[in-house]
Amino acid sequence: MLRTLLQGLRSPVTERVPYDPDIAALAANLDRVAQRKLGRSLSIREVDAGSCNGCELEIHALNNAFYDLERFGLRFVASPRHADVLMVTGPVTRNMREALERTWRATPDPKWVVAVGDCGAGCGVFADSPACVGAVAKVVPVDLVIRGCPPTPTQLLQGLLALLSAR
């Protein structure tokens, strides 16, 4: 058993910090005060407000050894009451609108909202559906948008690091 425990962990697979000038530009746009308050550590509550679950798969991947989210001081928490950041996916459905609003209200200030994916950013292929309210920004104030269908873990990581960087 010990051999299995160690197998694959001998040569680390964790990768270097991704850098993307576009995302760095995003960081520059963030409110400096916000960045100072956020500091170097973030607790993130993920909220699926209507996603097809593609975004969730890639957000999950952030926890694998290749991306190892926690080395940056970023971690997913189980309750909005423990969170600094809400990561919201999906075209917000009518049936999830109230749950999203309640989750946002349950998150203590100061808080930031990251809209994830093409659906979270602009409703994606579900635009015009009477069952959807629309982009995340239609329901709660959004501070950062990470596009993609779904965004790759690298893009997600870059976006989250933008929240932390450039003071």
Binding site: M1, N53, N64, F126, T152
Partner: protein, 464 residues
């Protein structure tokens, strides 16, 4: 599609209730209701409902109840005799006012969970009634991620509909695209090039392996054995990285299209997939061995969340849920479609019906999928990978593809102008979700995550 009268519809209901045929789906459109049944082959029965009502299938055959509630919400079709008339996908203006089933009994307490869950998962509400630690009833309430897909399909162009079909349940995007493309081809009489059919198979099996690896790790993680998740997540990541190299997208979204596939596989890609197979074969057996030999893990999974063979059969449970409870059904073999009709594989079936069996079905299927991919790469036909598709109507098509969690059914009809008139996509989860309610009964609340993960039903695929 066969247009039937009310008498025939009722005969079909009796056959379903007697277990002579299996319900594959039930859906509506304005003024008409359809059901698909399986009896050696797939038959679609359609009934006109000029007055907006029809004899309920759910009245005698429980697996239809949620489907009928959904069709009523979406198209106003009233199933006469339906035992549960509460709305299902339509939550209305006051979503918290849903009347859950009443519970009576001394010492019982309720635990409401969701729609926002503690992990990075989809939203849904679970209402547990517990006697101490033991769950005496679970009632699910779904529909939170209802996006109106049936309505969006109406009037969509073929391109729009193809993209939409690939986003019904993101984890099964290749399988959905596969089923949708085949339904379009069936409607229009188009034959995709042989190489395309084989590449579709490669993508579908890579998707299956990636999901099964993720699930196996996650099931163990829910038994607090996080090491397995760490290892499986690395292997899963390898599959997704191979997918992006070969096909240009980690989840292979929009790669399977009507008429063939959007990208060809290069020699470098083939080499990449071969080395991926080698890596999984080198690493995964040791993890399975670790699973087998870890008593604390077995203690949680063996005998937990047992689904009876009878329920699995009655509900036509697809995928690992059915196959872990003795239901020997796999659309790749039981219905059969290219490229699987030319390949050799086994459909693993177990009878224990517990969390352990559902985990082990996945383990065995990973092995089969690796072998399938190898066979496909060894015999990959040369030539074109896509033919032009010119939609014209009216034309109707149906297809079924085996996604990692079970069979996906796609039915569609083109309008005379060549746009999509109606399209319904039915996830395997429709018939698995109700069985989770049955499987958890008598287990402790703390084992629910384990049971839930071993089912891993799709919320988005179900909520449409």
């Amino acid at each position: 599609m066969t247009l039937v009268d009310v008498d025939y519809w009722q005969v079909a209901i009796r056959c379903l209730a007697a277990g002579e045929v299996t319900l594959l789906g039930l859906w509506g459109e304005p003024g008409r209701v359809h059901m698909a049944v399986f009896d050696h082959s797939v038959v679609v029965l359609s009934l006109d409902c000029p007055n907006g009502h029809y004899p309920s299938v759910g009245a005698l055959h429980a697996p239809a109840i949620r489907l009928e509630r959904a069709a009523r919400d979406l198209f106003g079709l009233d199933p006469v005799g339906l035992p549960d008339t509460r709305p299902w996908l339509e939550h209305g203006a006051n979503p918290t006012a849903y009347p859950f089933l009443p519970v009576e009994g001394e010492g019982l307490h309720q635990i409401p969970v969701g729609p926002v869950h503690a992990g990075i998962i989809e939203p849904g509400h679970f209402r547990f009634t517990a006697d101490g630690e033991t769950v005496v009833r679970l009632e699910q309430r779904l529909g939170y991620v209802h996006k109106g897909i049936d309505h969006l399909m109406h009037g969509a162009t073929l391109d729009q509909a193809t993209r939409l079909a690939g986003r019904v349940s993101g984890d099964s995007t290749a399988a959905y695209a596969f089923a949708f493309a085949r339904a379009v081809e069936a409607a229009l009489g188009v034959e995709p090039p042989p190489r395309a059919a084989w590449l579709r198979g490669v993508m579908a099996e890579m998707e299956r392996i990636a999901n099964h690896l993720g699930d196996f790790g996650a099931i163990c993680n829910d038994a607090s054995f996080s090491l397995m998740l760490a290892h499986c997540a690395m292997l899963r990541e390898r599959v997704l990285r191979c997918a992006v190299t070969c096909f240009g997208h980690r989840l292979m979204m929009d790669r399977i299209v009507p008429g063939g596939v959007a990208v060809d596989l290069t020699e470098d890609g083939i080499a990449g997939i071969r080395s991926l197979i080698d890596e999984i074969r080198a690493r995964f057996p040791a993890l399975v061995d670790l699973y087998d030999k870890t008593a604390s893990l077995q203690d949680r999974t063996v005998g937990t969340g047992i689904l009876s063979a009878d329920l699995a059969r009655r509900f036509g449970a697809g995928g690992y849920v059915g196959r872990a409870s003795g239901r020997d059904f796999d659309a790749r073999r039981s219905i059969g479609y290219p490229p699987y009709d030319r390949l050799h594989f086994e459909v693993p079936v177990l009878t224990e019906g517990d969390v352990n069996a559902r985990a082990l079905i996945r383990v065995k299927e990973i092995d089969q999928s690796l072998s399938l991919i190898e066979q496909m790469l060894n015999q990959l036909p040369v030539g074109e990978v896509r033919v032009a598709v010119e939609p014209h109507g009216p034309a109707e098509g149906l297809a079924i593809a085996e996604a990692f969690r079970g069979d996906v059914l796609v039915w569609l009809r083109f309008d005379p102008a060549g746009g999509i008139d109606r399209c319904h996509l039915r996830d395997a989860s429709w018939f698995q979700w109700p069985l989770l309610e049955a499987a958890i009964e008598g287990n402790i609340v703390a084992d629910f995550p384990l049971c839930n993960k071993s089912f891993n039903c799709s919320y988005s695929g179900h909520d449409l």
